[in-house]
């Protein structure tokens, strides 16, 4: 490469060799074996990842006050729809940086189980446990899941039946933790997508749409899930609280993310078939 500085010439030579290495019949591309492909990381992807992460985070933080108000409105509407006879209060939170927002609070007593409810719960656990043994082998995961539920629910029955101390949580706390943990998960979504999705060769608009879809879905799912918890606990007493909190709480939020993520990674890449996937051979 006469006239070019040595490092530039070396780089150009390396690029030329790389292009030749993958050139196939009639100028086509020889795709490398799947064992050898990797991902290309360039300035454009780095920049777009950074923009998407920062943009989504800033947007999310800015939307928090509206989100809190929206959830409060949702709680008020749902209270009437579900026939929950409890006032909906608010709790104000302030984040570092001065972002203030309010979350809805269900200001009602926590119904504690009496002996009759505990017996019903105990019998229910026994029936579900027996059912888990009757299910055919192909339902093994369901069998295990039912037994897990029975285990947690039985611990609740035993606690309310025998523990000398009062149950340490109120319905109000339960809802508050669900909502705040959900907000944390939502705040982590842009970061997690930056680390695990934006690094792939998906089109920028797809990444943007996915971010909005996940955040939008969670923005609706988290309060609705909390409302279902409230309704179930008011109907079935606090004996349901542990299983709802431990199995059907935060874990469901994470699975919303996993499901969207799996869907997004099944999309076609933006680099197309004509571009050879990068090979990083050492």
């Amino acid at each position: 490469m006469p006239g070019k500085p040595a490092p530039v010439a070396a780089l150009a030579g390396a690029r030329q060799r790389e292009a030749l290495r993958v050139r196939g019949h009639k100028g086509g591309i020889i795709a490398p074996h799947r064992a050898m492909v990797g991902l290309r990381w360039n300035a454009w992807r780095f920049l777009t990842t950074l923009l998407l992460v920062v943009g989504a985070l800033v947007g999310y933080l800015a939307a928090l006050p509206w989100l809190g108000r929206g959830w409060q409105l949702l709680f008020l509407r749902a209270r009437d729809f579900l026939g929950i006879s409890a006032p909906i209060g608010t709790q104000t939170l302030e984040l570092v940086g001065g972002v203030r927002f309010t979350l809805p609070v269900v200001a009602t007593f926590t119904p504690l189980p009496d002996t009759r409810v505990l017996w019903i719960a105990g019998i229910g656990c026994t029936v579900v446990l027996l059912l888990s043994f009757l299910l055919p082998e192909r339902f093994t995961p369901l069998r295990y899941f039912l037994r897990l539920l029975v285990l947690v629910q039985t611990s609740a029955v035993l606690f309310f039946g025998f523990a000398p101390d009062p149950f340490p949580y109120r319905l109000e706390d339960h809802v508050f933790i669900l909502l705040t943990a959900g907000l944390v998960v939502m705040g982590l979504v842009p970061l997690l997508l930056g680390l695990t999705l934006h690094v792939f060769d998906l089109a920028l608009w797809r990444k943007l749409v996915l971010t909005v879809l996940i955040l939008g879905h969670l923005a609706l799912f988290i309060p609705l899930n909390a409302l279902v918890h409230v309704w179930l606990i008011l109907q079935g007493t606090a004996v349901l609280m542990p299983v709802l909190f431990l199995v059907f709480g935060l874990l469901l939020d994470v699975f919303v993310f996993v499901t969207f993520y799996g869907w997004a990674l099944s999309w076609r890449g933006s680099e197309g078939r004509d571009a050879p996937p990068p090979v990083h051979l050492g």
Partner: protein, 430 residues
């Protein structure tokens, strides 16, 4: 009392955080790191003698396919001996092997076992020293349900031109993926394990695991470490660590793919993973201390990786214990930290921690070009739950019976689902 619950919980969370970081590091390395596949281009060479062992116990449905695939390979016939090991089969396996031995004299030389300890490790131990043709320079091992491609033997032998290599492992790819949800999930798990985990270990010069099939050992290395250990259910993991501790290297060849049959029923899968867990735990008990002492030839990061690899099946019961402690603390109303901070920490741990394994699998499947399979990602929790319970139960039973006098090791053979007359691919891809 509360402290007695909190301290172990924090320790368990610490262990889980380490495994989470490991998942992310491996996946990002596999996606962006430089790949070490230094032996994959060797096509012509002065090929050494090779013995291919195929342990069999009631393998009439599959062993014919396996032998056909091996015989169709491009390894110089004069340098290759195929040694199917029949370990007390009660079906037609022996007759099939006799037939192949008669049709391919000198190339297929069966080894028959009628006594001694049952199981794959014991079969390999006997055959590797007693079978005709076992004195080959390289000893490869395949399970009877595998279908090696034409060039696979050369690919697996090539790394042994490096005199420091003691064992080689290829990539296992399920053949019966579309049979059920379980087979699809196992396919995803294998993808994460090989395409990402093993290759990242190779890239980072850590300890790739010799997996007992689609791979093999250098005979001199095998003899140097005392041969196959028949007192374990995971002779592969045991061999990996004995070789590594003795100064040999293990190479992983991501390009060397071989097709296997994964369990099609949950019962079969549970038995398989329980056996793996027990065997792996035996290796943990045997090798963690020599590894922890760090032999001078091993780097600190290799030791850390080795310990994490050894402990991978101990994580299951640890996780169950962690959940139990968390449940107890929940009832006690214990706040692990103050209010919002606690919620943030738990949410962070749940999100990042739970997602790490999904990321690894999804990245592997994406690299494989199997995009539609990734939609099944959330269903991995199904397999995870079954594996967690099975592994924890197997470990608990193993611990409970550890000091039982006269306890005997029981080998559970993985069930085969293929029909003997099924048309199988000829493995040209491999």
């Amino acid at each position: 009392m509360t402290l007695l619950l909190i301290i172990p919980l924090y320790l368990i969370v610490g262990v889980m955080v380490i495994y989470t970081i490991r998942h992310y590091l491996f996946t990002l390395n596999r996606l962006f790191g430089r790949h070490r596949q230094p032996y994959v281009d060797i096509g012509s060479a002065d090929w050494p003698t090779v013995a291919v062992f195929v342990p069999c116990h009631n393998e009439e449905k599959v062993v014919g396919h396996m032998l056909d695939a091996l015989l169709a390979g491009d390894y110089p016939p004069g340098q290759l001996t195929i040694i199917p090991i029949d370990d007390r089969s009660t079906d037609d396996t022996r007759a099939i092997l006799d037939d192949y031995a008669a049709r391919y004299p000198g190339r297929v030389r069966p080894f028959y076992r009628d006594r001694g300890r049952p199981g794959k490790a014991a079969a390999l131990k006997d055959a590797s020293t007693q079978a005709a043709g076992a004195d080959a320079v390289i000893q490869l091992v395949f399970d009877a349900d595998y279908l090696p491609g034409r060039g696979l033997i050369k690919q697996l032998v090539a790394p042994f031109f490096d005199v420091e290599i003691g064992a080689v492992m290829g990539r296992v790819v399920p053949l019966n993926v579309s049979r059920s949800l379980l087979t699809r999930l196992l396919d995803l798990e294998r993808t994460g394990g090989y395409q990402v985990d093993q290759q990242a270990r190779m890239n980072l010069r850590l300890i790739p695991q010799y997996g007992g099939t689609v791979g093999g050992v250098r005979r001199s290395a095998l003899l140097a470490v005392g041969g196959w250990n028949d007192a374990t259910l995971a002779e592969d993991t045991d061999m990996t660590f004995r070789l590594v501790l003795a100064g040999w290297e293990v190479a992983y060849q991501n390009r060397s793919e071989c097709y296997e049959e994964v369990p099609e029923t949950w019962g079969s899968r549970i038995r398989q993973i329980k056996r793996w867990a027990r065997g792996h735990n035996q290796s943990l008990a045997r090798h963690w201390w020599p590894l922890f002492k760090r032999p001078p030839h091993l780097s600190v990061r290799s030791v850390i990786d080795g310990l994490l690899l050894l402990g991978v099946y101990a994580v299951g019961p640890l996780l169950v214990l962690g959940w139990s402690l968390a449940l107890a603390l929940y009832y006690l109303g214990v706040q692990l930290a103050s209010g919002l901070l606690a919620i943030f920490a738990v949410a962070l741990y749940s999100t990042l921690g739970n997602f790490a394994a999904f990321f690894e699998v999804a990245a592997g499947a994406r690299l494989d070009g199997s995009r539609s399979r990734i939609k099944l990602l959330p269903f991995l929790i199904v397999g995870f739950l079954v594996s967690l319970v099975s592994v924890s139960w197997a470990t608990l039973v193993q611990l409970a019976t550890f000091w039982t006098p006269g306890r005997r090791q029981h080998w559970e053979k993985t069930e085969r689902f293929r029909s003997a007359d099924m048309v199988v691919p000829n493995g040209e891809e491999g």
